[in-house]
């Protein structure tokens, strides 16, 4: 009887092993097929970063193909496995809410086998927070002292040290493996840019209508460059709400390029709106929270006939726009042609950059265009 039972159990174990192996096989194949990506919607061209055949993603090449990751310094500590829970509580309460470091591609814990003369033991290394958030070890130690009362897993005497991790998710699975070994365990969730391209949503009709508006305005102004700033309407079927149309005025002022003009118009009308509000209501204005929504050009959409120059692109960074779609690359442009300013590391703001590649529209622009290709727009 006992023997039968044992052989039965062994059978079960063997079949479980088989099932596990099979599952692994399936997962592997799934991962493989991800690179050809049958899940990709039909309007998305992952290879070239083109949507609907009309919008081309302009992205920093170093970001797409970085083989050496940009690293950032984080604070780390070693704990015993039994301390995991209280450490997580601590991290969630006192660090995550204040730390801007995006960590979704990084595993919080790293299991390490330590071999000592007495034998091997397991230690967990854990990431606490970025060095940017707390720049000295003392600050972190003080936090631990103040907030860990649990005597069973006292964290207050924990040793804290620095380590370096990649800032961004790895672009390929191979690099994910390589960087995980070299720096810190990372999770692989598919090519991050492909994920982005599949998830980004455009109502292409209303983008077409904005391009139409650009061309129309340029035509009315003798083919001069035009920049439009708009707010995305809450309903996806409506057109974007146009807030300002800027046209090139460099004949009067060398710096009044269309983008600078549009930014100034947005600011002027917001200033007027606030003054009116202040006059009419005379109170409670700040409490309405409006002020925050209308801060500079925060997350607004920008459309431009030409690739902006360094001045204008940096003006868009300062204005914290959400996205630009522009039509014509310029020799002295500073998005795709040089610098890629809206997508540059180290500046305090980034925005999405797309170039309109609809041939019909570009043809119309080329016929209108009154601007020499080396001009700064």
């Amino acid at each position: 009887m006992f023997r039968v039972c044992r052989s039965f159990l062994q059978d079960i174990q063997t079949s479980l092993k088989l099932i596990r192996r099979n599952n692994k096989q399936i997962r592997l194949e799934k991962a493989k097929s991800m690179s050809n990506d049958p899940t990709s919607p039909s309007h998305v061209d992952l290879e070239d970063g083109v949507l609907y055949g009309l919008l081309k993603q302009v992205k920093h090449k170093s970001l797409l193909q970085e083989s050496q990751p940009e690293l950032t310094t984080v604070w780390c500590c070693n704990i015993e496995p039994k301390q995991t829970k209280s450490l997580l509580v601590f991290i969630r309460s006192f660090l995550i809410p204040f730390d801007n470091l995006p960590l979704s591609h990084v595993k919080r814990f790293n299991k390490k086998e330590l071999t000592t003369p007495e034998g091997t033991s397991t230690v967990l290394q854990a990431i606490l927070c970025s060095k940017e958030y707390l720049d000295t070890k003392e600050e972190l130690q003080n936090l631990f002292h103040e907030h860990t009362y649990d005597n069973n897993s006292d964290l207050s005497e924990i040793s804290i040290y620095e380590t370096q991790i990649p800032v961004r998710p790895p672009p390929t699975k191979e690099l994910a493996v390589e960087w995980s070994q070299k720096y810190w365990p990372l999770s692989w969730k598919g090519n991050p840019n492909h994920q982005y391209l599949k998830s980004v949503k455009f109502n292409i009709q209303r983008e077409k209508s904005m391009i139409g508006q650009l061309l129309k305005t340029s035509k009315e102004n003798g083919g001069l460059p035009v920049t439009i700033i708009a707010r995305e309407s809450e309903s996806t079927s409506d057109d974007h709400e146009i807030l300002a149309i800027g046209t090139d005025n460099r004949k009067q002022h060398p710096l009044q390029h269309s983008t600078m003009q549009a930014i100034a118009k947005v600011a002027d009308s917001e200033l007027k709106r606030r003054n009116n509000l202040a006059e009419n209501e005379n109170s409670n204005y700040i409490q309405q929270g409006k002020e925050e929504n209308n801060y500079l050009c925060h997350n607004l959409l920008v459309y431009s006939t030409h690739e902006p120059c360094v001045m204008c692109a940096m003006a868009l960074v300062h204005s914290r726009i959400g996205r630009i779609i522009y039509m014509k690359n310029m020799q002295n442009g500073s998005l795709e042609s040089n610098y890629q300013l809206g997508d540059m590391d180290g500046l305090n703001w980034k925005f999405d950059i797309w170039r309109w590649i609809g041939e019909e529209d570009l043809k119309i622009l080329a016929e209108l265009d009154a601007v020499p290709s080396e001009q700064e727009i």
């Binding site: 204040f98 003080n142 960074v317 204005s319 300013l341 500046l347």
Partner: protein
């Protein structure tokens, strides 16, 4: 090589920046000087908070003033810009497009600098002379940002609480120019002390200075457009009279450490620390020299958050 004139002119910009503090703008400012006449043609100061336009940096205000009041045509090949902080990428490009000749500036602009720190847009276009009154420029910015630190996310952790005697980060001139370019601008005698040993530049080699030696009441009164700042400054000095400016100058002088003959900042001596909200009034009240406490004005959360957002972007 005598750099006194550069110091005096950046000193004037520094006073304008100080005035910007009192109208709740980021303390960054500049003046445009005509090479031929040696006259101050216009002044500029950060105007982003009032205008709600993140591009209204000092350089743009100064250029617009010229277009509105002085010249009709750019480029003007006769202009030198003196500015307290390295122009940002946007401004550095704008300066190129109007045909500026030379930019003399105080401290580097770590995040956005377009004249050597992040990009070098002046290369093949115009000259730069960095590091003139740079610790003083940083000191003004620290006065502005001190309240930011007070409103940090976790009030339990106060960073940079001690402004008093806080060191200034070193300036690495090698980042902005090579040795021979440095010698051409500042003189061989400064190579060892400043380029290699990171001492502060002084107007005259081997001689220290105070801001009060550099900025005179007459020179301040001679700047065009300053009265606009005074008319905006409702809470404090009132209209721009000689007396009001003299009073401001007195407070202004006391905000900075002297730099000694060796090019070392004289930490340990007493200076004034003010914030943007309680600003000049506070200095007047606390006339005894041992107050350096900064009173934090009461404001609601939204206001704080908004200011936090806005202050980040407004460095030139």
């Amino acid at each position: 090589m005598d750099l006194t004139e550069h110091f005096q002119r950046v000193g004037l910009s520094l006073f304008v920046a100080f005035k910007a503090l009192s109208i709740n703008e980021t303390p960054v400012a500049c003046i445009l000087v005509s090479k031929k006449s040696s006259k101050v043609i216009s002044i500029g100061y950060n105007d982003t908070n009032r205008s709600l336009n993140g591009t209204r940096h000092a350089e743009f205000i100064a250029i617009d003033y010229i277009l509105d009041n002085v010249e009709d045509t750019f480029p003007v090949d006769d202009l030198i810009l003196y500015v307290t902080v390295e122009p940002c990428i946007m401004c550095a490009s704008a300066l190129k497009q109007v045909g500026i000749q030379c930019v003399v500036y105080g401290c580097g602009n770590d995040r956005f600098g377009g004249n050597g720190t992040v990009l070098s847009l002046h290369e093949n276009n115009y000259g730069i002379i960095p590091g003139i009154l740079r610790t003083e420029a940083i000191q003004l910015l620290r006065n502005f940002y001190i309240q930011e630190n007070e409103s940090a996310p976790d009030p339990k952790i106060k960073k940079n609480k001690e402004l008093e005697n806080k060191l200034y980060p070193e300036m690495d001139y090698g980042k902005y120019m090579n040795e021979s370019e440095f010698i051409k601008i500042y003189g061989l005698e400064r190579l060892n002390s400043t380029y290699i040993n990171k001492k502060e530049i002084t107007p005259v080699i081997g001689k220290g200075y105070r801001v009060s030696d550099l900025v005179s009441l007459d020179d301040v009164m001679g700047m065009p457009g300053l009265e606009n700042m005074y008319s905006r400054d409702k809470k404090c000095s009132g209209p721009m009279t000689r007396e009001a400016v003299a009073q401001d100058l007195d407070s202004f002088y006391r905000m900075f450490y002297a730099v000694d003959d060796e090019g070392d900042v004289t930490f340990g001596t007493h200076i004034k620390i003010i914030g943007s909200e309680n600003k000049i009034e506070f200095i007047k009240e606390g006339s005894d020299r041992d107050t350096n406490e900064v009173k934090e004005p009461i404001e609601n959360g939204v206001e704080k958050k908004r200011r936090k957002l806005s202050n980040e972007g407004h460095l030139h």
